[in-house]
């Protein structure tokens, strides 16, 4: 063997060694490499016969380059591997979405967020940063665990049993196509919006409308006075929203978007209110005693209970509206995604 052909063979061996590195260490590894090596040597031999002279290193390199990078070749020649196969992947995707979007994110925002806020002593910036920091690492850990569990199921083929157990008769009924809000619903919303606004406007003159019999000894406190205009504004927005929905039923995007904006506005008002209470937690007063009963111990206690009840309602409303805002955002995003070129439903479903 000449020096040149020895160098050529060495180049092939180096190439095969690099391929070996990427191939899984199975009993077929040597077999695969021997076959690939034989193919490459046959190619070189053929080319040499064609040219009538031995190939130089550059020509050998061209053949190897055409064959592909060692990693790529090993990927093609080795067994096809995947962490989660096509049979399990849709379930994996569904579980991952559920865990990350519908469990983890709400838990962090609505439970851990307020806890962090309480521990940070009302420092919103620090609480938000802390919550998002925890959320970020929580998302990674949860995604890792879900992936690991599914990879184990894939390896143990535990899902194969479930594959045979499904029953066509137990499939859920066909979902109705999303419809525009019914006229009756929109009319009711409009009626309630008018009623709500009128009720709100009457409150300063007729406090019994909210306090009932307690209006004899209670009246609205400073916080309610401070935020009254904001609640009137929210009520007007709600009325306008219902009016537009009624007048423009063809604007299918409007109910979703306006509902979301309304929730955001409400959250802003509630946030300001909670912040105002946070600044002087001992002096918050939604209701105060009328002058005539100011010193009555019995009524002082009642006023304190009413104030705490309203405070709890405000916090509860904040949590409820926050959850609603997340859901409405998701609904609006889903609506937008469906709009440009949504998949065609099968005729039997589309006509439902």
């Amino acid at each position: 063997m000449t020096n040149s052909s020895r160098r050529n063979m060495e180049l092939i061996d180096r190439y095969l060694q690099a391929v070996r590195f990427w191939l899984p260490k199975t009993n077929r590894q040597e077999d695969v490499l021997a076959e690939l090596g034989e193919d490459l040597r046959s190619q070189i031999e053929d080319r040499e016969t064609e040219l009538g002279q031995p190939l130089d290193q550059a020509e050998i390199a061209t053949i190897l380059k055409r064959c592909g990078s060692p990693m790529l070749v090993a990927g093609r020649l080795g067994p096809q591997r995947h962490l989660i196969g096509p049979a399990l992947f849709p379930i994996y995707e569904f579980v991952l979405k559920m865990v990350l979007l519908w469990i983890l994110v709400p838990v962090f925002i609505f439970i851990l967020g307020p806890v962090n806020l309480a521990y940070s002593g009302g420092n919103w910036g620090a609480a938000i940063l802390n919550t998002f920091g925890n959320l970020w690492s929580g998302l990674f850990i949860a995604a890792g665990i879900v992936t690991l569990v599914f990879a184990i199921i894939e390896r143990t083929s535990a899902h194969l049993g479930a594959e045979c157990k499904w029953d066509p008769l137990k499939l859920p009924p066909v979902r109705q196509q999303e419809r525009k809000p019914s006229l009756l619903k929109v009319l009711c919303e409009f009626g309630f919006a008018i009623f709500g606004l009128v009720w709100l406007l009457l409150l300063p003159h007729a406090p019994f409308l909210i306090l009932g019999p307690a209006a004899v000894f209670l009246k609205a406190g400073p916080i309610l006075h401070q935020f009254y205009p904001a609640f009137v504004l929210l009520s007007v927005v709600s009325l306008v929203r219902s009016g537009i929905t009624l007048a423009r039923p063809q604007w299918s995007w409007f109910p979703l978007l306006s509902q979301l904006l309304h929730s955001v506005l409400m959250l802003i008002v509630l946030n300001f209110m909670i912040e105002a209470i946070g600044k002087s937690p001992l002096a918050f007063q939604f209701v105060v005693l009328r002058d005539a009963v100011r010193d009555s111990h019995k009524y002082i206690q009642t006023a304190a209970i009413v104030n705490i009840s309203i405070l709890l309602s405000v916090v509860g409303t904040w949590i409820g509206v926050s959850i609603a805002a997340v859901v409405q955002t998701w609904q609006f995003i889903r609506y937008l995604r469906k709009q440009p070129s949504g998949p065609q439903r099968p005729a039997s479903i589309a006509t439902q």
């Binding site: 077999d31 076959e35 592909g68 070749v73 093609r76 020649l77 096809q80």
Partner: protein, 118 residues
Amino acid sequence: MTNSTTVGLEILENLKLELRRGCLIVAVLAQLRSEQYGYTLRKALADDGLAIDEGTLYPLLRRLEAQGLLVSQWREEDKRNKRFYRLSPTGELILKQLLEEWESINQSLNRILQEASL
């Protein structure tokens, strides 16, 4: 080249790949009615217009062997060890059925194309 042309070419390449995949199996089985080793098989297929790279052929040969359609044997030829493949008896039977299926598909396709051109 516009974006839509690139997308069109990509789709065409993918469809061609899908179309070739099934045909390649029949072609490999048909070629291996006579014994051959990897490189000569690749050359024979390329000469007949069905070029196939190493990364596609060798896994396919291993798969067909694992399914019992091929048998292989390492043997020395021209002072080099080569793995020779040939069709197994099961492979011969399957090839016959595949060719019948191929013929049937071909006839159906021709009929559909003729109807479409009317």
